[in-house]
């Protein structure tokens, strides 16, 4: 301000009018420059609807590439084509008919845009054609943010609970009894040797106590490790692609069944084919955390027709029959009951031990939800009668033979 004041004083009255004129012109220029920019931003938002069929400088899609369309066609033609292209074709507009034939006679949908909206789209197209980048339109302040604010504490609680559960499993996996086992064996051998041969410790009861304590520890650890044999709790192998369930399920809210779509009809939940990945990754080519490298592996697999060799995490022994369909479709069991909070995992880890005891316990406790409605169960007449007479209140999986040997082992 001080500077301009001093300038005005030096320039005198004539100078002031000149300066104000300059300022005015400047302002005009600025506003006229600002208006299209704002327009283009609005146009960018609207163009998202056009982007299903058109690109700007990206080649033809369903409809023509719109790069430089403002130069190719006059404004009125564009306005009426956007509003109702079919009417123009029926009226016999030569350019419209030619375009219609060139693009496989796919009609363009009609859009009820105002003059202003169409103008903004065209401004955006011309800006984009010249290679200018356009910023996103200012985000609308919506109710969503308020709504999500209310549930923040709930979400935090849930997250803490999940983390605790994960930590518990982490501890279970990290158990390493080797030093305790080894020291106990050493002490056990030494004290037996001392008791029988060297007799270094005069008071025999010391040796006896040591033998008992170490003996118990050794047996306990042996039993625990023997039980853990053949179970894979905590198994979390490296996968060929750094695929994160956390990103796909939690962040992008994709349902488990979108990819594991055979889970309701098949024994297997199913690994998605690489082609299925392309339903989204034809557009999403860059990950937020891994960049392009991991997603490029899908393209590589498709181009070279070679399978992606995922490593199966949840394995059951071959002498057990297990069907996903029976559990998810008929039993209505949620995926997380067995697989845990997969949506929290970047790398999948087996949280349940998948032991027989674990299976059998669940069969004892779980009610058959469709016992009354599913006609398959109508032959359990005795159970139905008991239910009616009130002798039993609910029917568990065990009651209908879910824990018979041949249900799973045959």
């Amino acid at each position: 301000m001080d500077d301009s004041h001093s300038k005005i004083r030096i320039l005198g009255f004539k100078g002031v009018t000149k300066l104000s004129l300059l300022l005015f012109i400047n302002l005009m220029l600025l506003s006229s420059f600002n208006l299209p920019a704002q327009n283009a931003r609005q146009g960018k938002k609207l163009f998202q609807e056009c982007a299903a069929c058109h690109t700007i400088g990206g080649g033809r899609l369903v409809g023509p590439d719109l790069k430089g369309v403002n130069e190719r066609r006059d404004k009125e033609w564009l306005y009426s084509f956007i509003r109702n292209s079919q009417a123009m074709i029926q009226a016999g507009d030569p350019i419209a008919v030619e375009l219609f034939n060139e693009y496989n006679k796919v009609p363009m949908a009609s859009y009820d845009y105002t003059d202003e909206q169409i103008e903004s789209i065209l401004t955006y197209i011309s800006a984009k054609s010249e290679g200018k980048e356009v910023e996103d339109a200012a985000p609308e302040t919506s109710k969503e943010t308020e709504e999500s604010g209310e549930t923040v504490s709930e979400k935090a609680d849930k997250e803490i609970a999940l983390q605790e559960e994960m930590a518990k499993h982490e501890l279970e996996r990290d158990r390493n009894y080797s030093p305790a086992f080894w020291i106990s064996i050493l002490l056990l051998v030494l004290s037996i040797f001392d008791l029988a041969v060297t007799k270094f410790i005069k008071a025999k009861f010391v040796n006896v106590i040591v033998i008992i304590i170490t003996g118990v520890i050794v047996v306990e650890i042996t039993v625990r490790e023997a039980i853990a044999l053949g179970r894979q709790e905590g198994y979390s192998p490296e996968q060929p692609i750094w695929f994160s369930h956390k990103v796909h399920v939690q962040q992008n809210k994709i349902d488990c069944r979108y990819c594991h779509h055979t889970v309701d009809d098949s024994k297997h939940a199913g690994f998605p084919s690489a082609q299925l990945c392309m339903n989204c990754h034809n557009v999403v080519k860059e990950g937020s955390r891994t960049g392009k490298t991991e997603i490029a592996k899908i393209y590589d697999a498709i181009e070279n027709n070679k399978p992606i060799e995922w490593v199966k995490v949840h394995n059951l022994p071959d002498h057990v029959y297990f069907s996903h369909a029976q559990h998810t479709n008929i039993g209505q069991i949620d995926c997380a009951v067995c697989h845990g909070p997969v949506e929290e995992m970047d790398k999948v880890k087996q949280l349940s031990d998948l032991s027989m005891g674990w299976c059998v316990n669940c069969h004892r406790e779980t009610n058959v939800t469709q016992f009354e409605t599913n006609t398959f169960y109508k032959h359990y007449t005795e159970l139905h009668e008991k239910l009616k007479s009130g002798e039993i209140k609910e029917v568990t999986v065990q009651d209908i033979g879910g824990n018979d040997c041949q249900k799973c082992h045959y």
Partner: protein
């Protein structure tokens, strides 16, 4: 003898014990009887030397049709889409049960892009992963299309290629149920 125990046997024992009890997350662990744990038969996704392409999972033999499946004759072109619209008709009734099942299928397979309300505002679009706006299913453009055309788009994908083919994921019956839901359930949200 004692030297052998001291210098060889003990460290060897230690090694075995330390290894046996170490639960590394990359290792699936040890088993009692590998022949009962690991199948002699090839499992669904395993390699298989008996087939030329080395996979156990084989496509149906050429010239055969799997039970309950039918070949899909229409191509992914505008003409294919139109003839599907004329020739295919929804074989299912739009009753409450089918609508409910269609809604569940819609939630799984469609809502990520087209939105729970069908307005084309699914999470993948609002979170800006997708730049093109998914088609609104409640507008007249889709609502006025014959069922067969919608069936064609679900099965083969959209003409622009922005929507992929979902025929492999969604069974024919489920596709028709979804269409019932789009026409009868979603339109209430308009």
């Amino acid at each position: 003898m004692k030297r052998i125990i001291k210098y060889f046997l003990i460290p060897a024992l230690m090694l075995i014990i330390f290894n046996a009890c170490n639960h590394k997350e990359e290792h699936p662990g040890w088993v009692y009887m590998p022949d009962m744990m690991y199948s002699e038969a090839y499992s669904a996704y395993s390699e298989n030397p008996n087939f030329e392409d080395g996979k156990t999972n084989q496509p149906p033999v050429q010239g055969t049709i799997a039970r309950g499946k039918a070949p899909y004759p229409y191509e992914r072109t505008f003409q294919g889409q139109q003839s599907a619209g004329k020739e295919l008709h929804n074989p299912l009734e739009a009753n409450e049960e089918n609508l409910a099942m269609g809604k569940e299928q819609y939630r799984i397979f469609c809502a990520s892009c087209h939105g729970e309300q069908g307005k084309g505002d699914g999470h993948l679009y609002t979170s800006k992963l997708f730049t093109a706006k998914p088609t609104s299913l409640v507008d007249d453009y889709v609502q006025e299309k014959p069922d067969g055309e919608i069936y064609h788009v679900i099965t083969m994908g959209s003409l622009s290629g922005l929507m992929g083919a979902h025929g492999a994921q969604i069974s024919p019956g489920e596709r028709w149920k979804i269409i019932h839901y789009v026409k009868n359930g979603l339109s209430e949200n308009k």
